[in-house]
Symmetry: C2
Subunit: 355 residues, 2 copies
DNA sequence: CAGAAAATGAGGTACGCACCTCAAAAACGC
DNA sequence: GCGTTTTTGAGGTGCGTACCTCATTTTCTG
């Protein structure tokens, strides 16, 4: 049987009330007594029963997940994954709300953040580009005691409590090896595409990709990256132009979104299966493109895991509990046609883990 | 506020005792009354607070994980991952014990299984080859109401409650694509190695591998698989002989354990980096071999996730709760040098997921 | 050493639920 | 309509903790 507060009281020779004062850091206890209680705790190996404690407190975890209001597949899928994880976690007193902010307006975002405590939120998960305004807003939140975790794209300067996402530099490197090895020994060129929604990710991926290509696959020439700014038309135009004019292009690395336009362009040009195409995120379009052979590999982070991890980490922070780093590390997944998971999840994204 | 049992009682116009009888399927309630209560539950959207319920029951989940007593790296790592997940889950009333059985003695295993209920175990996770004795023992357990999950290698004929592990056929296929693509267009031969601890896995992997190689990479000849029966000496001997005599061998697919002997043999022969080597499981040796370039890719299942998933699934079964299939699906991970996770976990295995 | 201040103890209530007992009410058989 | 069986209600106790009040004891101050 695990020891309880009563056991501690007996062991320390004090009353239950005193144990309670020590456990919950209430004032009015002598140093000496505090020590006696703590010794008893250590001796008995007491650990607070969190479920009972939460029951007594009738605690609930009101959490805000804040995402850009972009209509991108990725953000949509993430929002959905968060919603699902949230409703599943409702059993454990978690109340998650997904909020959106206008992508290009850091001040609006800051305003939302600032308003959170008044709205009763106790923790925040945030996916946003790092700006000075944002940094200050996050710091203010943390000063008020709200844990803040960065989602997908890190916010190191804000002093966020945790980052939940993959190592984008490593992801870029991984894409690099795959590209290099899949292309084989003969020379060729690689097209790199990137929207610029969250600059930090893209830059890191690109760096990792270039580093590997340069070092290990010198026979491949990596072309300058093409920014498509999330516009399918632009992407289509740029890609078809490049493919038509540069016969040496044998591979495409797509770092951002716009997978749908990309795969369609490739298929329209009859190049499906003739190029090595590597992209990020396993959206439904990428799924079918993998199956059709238009996309060779996808580098993805598991959104279900991401969402569940977010909730676990925020809850741990709110409970002042330690975090199981192993469990919260988001892996860089390589998805080929052959290891495409069937998707019992949302139908939007692969899944796994948790809780 | 979430509705409670009291709200149901009021809504249904019955007493708390009756609600309790209905909720816990106790006898002595008329059909009509049961319906009234259930209607109230549906109307209010009541969901039982599991943490409070478990507190009241002072429920604990005593679980046995049963593994072969093989000294293989894989089994050791799995045991460790289970232990760790177990001690972390101790906070949530989980008491996990890892038991071992003599690998080659199905009757001893059956005896252990049969003895479990008497020893107070309420759920079982089992990694073992499927034999008739085992099948009967598992069925007997399930008849007694103990949930049983199969670990790593499935036990379909036993009627186990759940299988926790990867789709080995898909894993073999994945290894196949990687091998084929990494080898490039020129012809060559591939060596396949397999111990035979858990026949089912190996067979499935082999089938998947062969299917892909045959269909997509006809220029590569896949040699007959070599059984090493877990003996490092035998493996070393077989491999060096093959490599010396068959100059066409450009790749090695190692389906089982004995990674250490394999990588050392390759390094001793000065072939590190000159062969495409794909193996299963990311043991410490494979990690360093990946870094050194001796191993090209590892197909792995995340043991931390596997362990956490095991506990979650068994707990869900014991609570008669539904399972989040998305979270419990064990992904087939492809690990290259570039996406080698740093291992905050056990140092023995990569990690991620689960709670 | 008296008086004030600080520390401690005793006890209760609550959280949401499980599980038990005993009496009262309702339904049933004949 | 009687006795019998079944169903229901009322109420209590406990799980392990939080949080509150009020009395009592101990310690400090001058």
């Amino acid at each position: 049987m695990r020891p309880t507060v009563n056991d501690i009281a007996r062991e320390a020779g004090v009353s239950l009330a005193t144990v309670d004062r020590v456990l919950n850091a209430r004032p009015g206890v002598r140093e000496k007594t505090i020590k006696a209680v703590n010794d008893a705790i250590a001796k008995l190996g007491y650990v607070r029963d969190l479920t009972a404690a939460n029951l007594a407190r009738s605690r609930n975890y009101r959490i805000a997940a804040i995402l850009p209001d972009a209509e991108s597949q990725f953000v949509q899928s993430l929002a959905q994954a968060l919603q699902e994880a949230g409703s599943l976690a409702a059993t454990s007193r978690v109340d998650l709300q997904v909020l959106r902010f206008p992508t290009e307006d850091p001040h609006a975002l800051a305003a939302i953040l600032t308003g959170l405590p008044a709205r009763g939120f106790a923790g925040v998960a945030l996916m946003a580009p790092e700006t000075p305004v944002l940094r200050d807003a996050v710091r203010a939140l943390r000063a008020k005691g709200l844990p803040v975790v960065a989602l997908v794209s890190d916010l190191p300067a804000t002093g966020r409590d945790h980052f939940i996402g993959t190592d984008n530099h490593a992801a870029g490197r991984t894409a690099g090896v795959l590209m290099g090895r899949f292309l084989g020994d003969s020379p060729g060129q690689v097209l790199v595409l990137g929207s610029s929604l969250l600059a930090r990710d893209m830059v890191e991926r690109r760096r990792g990709f270039d580093a590997v290509m340069l070092r290990d696959f010198p026979q491949i020439e990596v072309l300058q990256s093409l920014e498509t700014h999330g516009s399918p038309q632009l992407l289509r135009q740029v890609v078809s132009q490049m493919l038509a004019n540069a016969p040496g292009v044998r591979g495409i690395y797509s770092m951002g979104d716009g997978q749908r336009a990309l795969t369609q362009t490739i298929e329209d040009m009859g190049l499906s299966g003739k190029l090595v195409v590597i992209c990020h995120q396993l959206t439904p379009h990428v799924r079918s493109a993998l199956q059709a052979g238009t996309v060779t590999a996808a580098i993805s982070q598991n959104l279900g895991h991401l969402a569940r991890s977010t909730l676990r980490v925020l809850r741990a922070k709110l409970d002042q509990q330690p975090i199981d780093e192993g469990q919260e590390q988001i892996r860089i997944e390589i998805v080929l046609r052959e290891n495409l998971p069937d998707t019992p999840d949302s139908g939007l994204q692969t899944s796994e883990d948790a809780a």
